[in-house]
């Protein structure tokens, strides 16, 4: 809106990406690859969700995996209740409950007989949790590093509780032996085209929807909060509500991604709420570009893709972790706005040829921007 030209470039990029992932199955219709890329695209959704709260609003949520994991469990619970009877105990009790001497299905499992409830729970529970935690943090004016530590602590606690409450959660093994999700007469088998499209469609909606939100005034205010929270407050905006909106929305998207992940992986596990995964999300987002939803999504796909391929090559079997670690450090040091900033620099160079006076997008090339501002100030 401020600069229709740069907006057009961005929109082109987003749409192009969506088209690519949607036509992908026509190029490579292969069970294994569909499943593999569906998994990567889910990470893309997760990473884009983090970019919304971190890159746009400045809330570094190190516990993003909480929402992801809870969403995943909600879906797994619904699917577990639909497994063929022999794998469950008497009266349709999930097998792990039988082994833990649970006699009747616990009350909070009951509603998961309904898919509708499960889907709402997968979205709603992470959002509710985020909302409560967010209310607690943002009303208390907790920012920056402390948000990071509190969300991380939350993650550790919830993970501990899930592993501990084996009777109800399947403990360390998670919830396994699931049936296939069916909705509107379509089966969503892990390797199927339908699942791939569900995932790819979600990513498109998240990216384009997210882009639309960031272009509203709300989106502007969120970015303003990231730049200078106090300044925004003195304009009469209730900063905490805005932060909580971003935090909760991001949690909801992550929860949805978690549900999809259960479909693609065919189980739910406490490792979906691990510190490891949660920090990985942050890394994807940073590598791709935290200030761009598309950048963050691409970062996730790229990093997990490179990671998968590096670890599959016999040469790097032992050293792939070293290489990944080094890449993270290099990106953080030299490309604070991620790989997408390279692309945006390229676009800007192109534009500069035609129109010198054209402006840049705010978050776009902050690297250049800060550099320039330094020069301006010194002169």
């Amino acid at each position: 809106m401020t600069d229709t030209n740069s907006m057009r470039w961005r929109l082109t990029g987003y749409v192009l990406f969506c088209v690519i992932i949607l036509v992908f199955p026509y190029i490579l219709n292969n069970d294994y690859l569909l499943n593999k890329y569906a998994r990567y695209l889910i990470f893309g959704v997760l990473s884009a969700a983090l970019s919304f709260s971190w890159g746009y609003t400045g809330i570094l949520n190190l516990g993003q995996a909480v929402s992801f994991g809870l969403g995943s469990y909600a879906m797994a619970m619904a699917l577990k209740l639909r497994t063929i009877p022999i794998q469950t105990g008497a009266g349709g009790l999930p097998d792990f409950m039988v082994w833990n001497n649970v006699k009747a299905l616990p009350w909070f499992w009951e509603p998961f007989h309904s898919y509708t409830f499960a889907v709402f729970a997968g979205l709603g529970i992470p959002m509710l949790l985020a909302f409560v935690l967010g209310w607690f943090m943002f009303r208390g004016r907790i920012t920056g590093v402390f948000v990071a530590i509190i969300t991380l602590a939350m993650l550790v606690v919830i993970n501990l509780v899930i592993v501990d409450q084996q009777k109800y959660t399947g403990g360390f093994n998670g919830i396994t032996d699931l049936s296939t999700f069916k909705a509107f007469g379509v089966g969503f088998d892990a390797y199927s085209l339908s699942t791939y499209y569900l995932v790819a469609g979600t990513l498109c909606v998240v990216l384009l929807g997210g882009l639309a939100i960031t272009r509203t005034k709300l989106g502007l205010i969120l970015q303003a909060i990231r730049d200078d929270e106090n300044r925004v407050r003195y304009f009469g905006y209730d900063v905490a509500s805005y932060q909580n909106f971003a935090f909760t929305l991001s949690a909801g998207v992550a929860g949805f991604a978690g549900m999809l992940y259960t479909l693609v992986m065919e189980f739910a596990s406490p490792t979906f709420l691990s510190v490891q995964l949660s920090l990985s999300i942050v890394i994807w987002c940073a590598v791709g570009g935290r200030g761009s939803l598309l950048g963050a999504a691409l970062g996730a796909i790229l990093v997990t893709g490179v990671q998968g391929n590096l670890s599959e090559s016999p040469t790097f079997l032992d050293t792939w972790m070293l290489i990944m670690g080094a890449i993270f450090i290099i990106v953080v040091l030299f490309l604070p706005n991620g790989l997408i900033s390279l692309a945006e620099k390229g676009v800007r160079l192109l534009k500069h040829k035609s129109a010198r006076e054209t402006a840049t997008h705010p978050v776009a090339g902050a690297a250049i921007a800060t550099f320039d501002s330094k020069r301006v100030r010194e002169s």
Binding site: L218, L220, Q223, D227, R231, Y234, F235, P362, D372
Partner: protein
Amino acid sequence: MAMLEMRDVEVSFSGFRAIAGLNLSVNQGELRCLVGPNGAGKTTALDVICGKTRLARGHVRYRDREIGNSEEFRIARLGVGRKFQVPSVFKELTVRENLRVGLCKPHGVFSNLVGRKSGESAERLEALACLVGLADELDHPASWLSHGQTQWLEIALLLAQNADLILMDEPTAGMTGAETHKTAELFNQLKGKHTLMVVEHDMGFVREIGDVISVMHQGRMLAEGAISEIERNPEVKRAYLGSGRISDA
């Protein structure tokens, strides 16, 4: 009736009393300058009004409403705007986007999600940019601006906010002589429509704009009056003894 009343206000930081029994009242449409030596509690006084700092005792009344210890955004919604000593704008947003954030009605989360921008606000926004001389910079990120320009942008933000009471903390710091003069002109235009409270060290500037000057010292009000009265006041002279004449402060 005064627009802003401060009565027996006390603020302390870990035992140190930054403001000790401050009384101050400002009328609608007035331009009040707040001066005083370093550590007199000027900035803290502004902080108390806009809700940044909690007061230990006393009352702050704005348009007959108690606003002491209210949340900042609630005070701001009543029509109080604040400019900081260190210019604070949104560095990664463009000037235009900065101003859009400044045009702050409505305040709610969801109305800003669905609300559409109106042509009227776009015009107003460009007019504001012209007023502060940033028309050419509208689509540049705020981080490209020079220090003086950043000051101007923040002032423009306050104008966009359309606050009734504007609190300014050293608005001319870092400005050239010409820029300072331009600021003074602007303030004189605002006078009457808005109520301004300006903390300032630059006495030249104060002379250009000030009707009534309040002098603070050690957390309380030392003197109040026109500039000529203040400059003759012996108590003020004594308070400034450490730093020479008042104009050097």
